[in-house]
């Protein structure tokens, strides 16, 4: 019989191949699911929230089997989970760690904060270009030209 090491017990079961999104703030996990449209996915997905980790309290984690994201897709979550880590898993091992970065353009996802903006009155998908000022992320609306701060 093999010895079970309690400390290695995984709270969310391992995947053979796929993507693990770790260190997501727990309160943003469901938004990450929305942004990546995981609720429409047919892949096997497991997730956990309010887990302890060395680097953060209340972290969230999502494991998606057999799914690999392109950079544009994954960078969208930088708006709400800037410190998330992205691990590409092949054969139960981390094959690659990706660093997420702020995308140049953001389409949909975020609403414009300007109540007079046309996107808040007509059926229009929002479009923003991103700016970073004093470590604050700003989204410049393509339409009303106002900045929405994240």
């Amino acid at each position: 019989m093999t010895k079970i090491d309690d400390s290695k017990e995984l709270k969310v079961s391992a995947i053979q191949n796929g993507t693990v999104l770790d260190h997501i703030p727990s309160n943003q996990l469901f938004r990450v699911i929305d942004i990546l449209k995981l609720n429409e996915s047919s892949d096997a997905i497991t997730f956990g929230i309010n887990l302890d980790s060395k680097s953060m309290v209340n972290k969230g984690i999502i494991k998606i089997a057999n799914r690999f994201f392109c950079d544009n897709e994954i960078n969208m979550i930088s708006l709400i989970a800037p410190n998330a880590s992205v691990n590409i898993i092949h054969d139960f091992k981390v094959a690659e760690k990706k660093i997420i970065s702020l995308p140049e353009k953001v389409t949909g996802i975020v609403k414009c904060m300007n109540p007079a903006c046309v996107t808040n009155h007509q059926n229009i998908e929002t479009q923003f270009t991103t700016t970073r000022k004093n470590n604050k992320i700003g989204l410049v609306c393509r339409y009303c030209e106002k900045i929405t701060e994240i």
């Binding site: 300007n114 007079a116 903006c117 046309v118 996107t119 009155h121 007509q122 059926n123 229009i124 609306c141 393509r142 339409y143 009303c144 030209e145 106002k146």
Partner: protein, 301 residues
């Protein structure tokens, strides 16, 4: 997508100078029916006096026919028609669309839906680029050049869209700015950062008289009641600047007073008869500048 004019930054410095040259030609020869085969739609979702009439006058002087509406009360918008559908349809009727709509960003959206050029005639507090171009034309015509002008902008520097567009567009011509406003209506930080980045000198003042005598262009603005959420705040500042003829005894000979109009109390009527008043001529210039913009976007000039 055809070239449209939605934001002043859609035009390069060369395009701005080109519009100025063409406008000069239209001022010399006011009726040039070069667009006699064109239909121009002027669609105004909120009322306007000067802007709509000057666009319609400009279209008529170019020989084009005008269709449209002066407010949305007699349109299918009342039945719940979307802006997208309205624009799709009108761009099938007309060769160019002039749009004013209080929703910010509506003109940019219209230009994406339209198969013909769109001119933004004001989208709420956002942009009003033809006003900026006629302001620049008025500066050029009164000062002989757009370069190295000392512009003193007075009044509502916080909400005034004409102020923000004017300083962005003039930043190509090494100006010097004085910003005269009460504390509550100071120029927002992002515009000061913009000027800093471009190394354009400016000073801020609360006193209208202090920098009057070395100003080339005195750009007066109305304190806009509709931009205030707190009526007490408005009452505090509404009559803070009131220019009178007696204040103009020692101003520079070339000094001219501009105002996007309508004015309320900020310029007394006795100023109208001084050689420095230029605001009515400025409004007239709007026709020539709009003639130039329309014919440029339709590829005729």
């Amino acid at each position: 997508m055809p070239k449209s004019l939605i934001s002043i930054q859609d035009f390069t410095k060369d395009e701005i100078l080109h519009i100025m040259e063409v406008a000069k030609d239209f001022e010399k020869d006011k009726s040039q029916p070069i667009l006699s085969d064109k239909v121009i739609a002027c669609i105004f979702f909120e009322p306007s006096t000067r802007t709509r009439l000057s666009f319609e006058t400009a279209s008529n002087r170019l020989g084009a026919r005008v269709v449209g509406f002066p407010d949305e009360s007699h349109t299918s918008v009342q039945k719940g028609e979307s802006l997208k559908d309205t624009i799709k349809m009108i761009s099938n009727y007309a060769d160019l669309i002039v749009i004013r709509n209080p929703l910010e960003g509506s003109a940019r959206y219209a230009s994406e839906q339209s198969s013909v050029p769109v001119i933004n005639a004001g989208d709420g507090a956002n942009q009003h680029p033809t006003q900026t171009l006629l302001d620049m034309y008025s500066i050029l015509q009164t000062q002989g050049s757009l370069d190295n002008i000392h512009i003193n902008i007075v009044g509502d520097l916080k909400y005034g869209r004409t102020v923000h567009s004017l300083l962005q567009a003039m930043s190509n011509f090494s100006p010097r700015f004085t910003f005269t406003s009460p504390e509550e209506l100071k120029l927002p930080k992002e515009y000061k950062m913009f000027l800093d980045k471009k190394n354009i000198p400016y000073q801020e003042s609360k006193n209208l008289l202090k920098h009057l005598n070395n100003t080339d262009i005195l750009y007066m603005t109305r304190i806009q009641k509709e931009r205030f959420t707190d009526p007490i705040e408005y009452e505090k500042v509404k009559n803070i600047y009131c220019l009178e003829a007696s204040m103009l005894n020692n101003v520079k000979n070339n000094m001219k007073i501009l105002h996007p109009l309508p004015r309320v109390n900020e310029i007394k009527e006795d100023v109208d008869d001084t050689p420095y008043a230029y605001y009515f001529k400025q409004a007239e210039n709007g026709v020539y500048v709009r003639m130039a913009i329309i014919s440029y976007l339709l590829g005729k000039r």
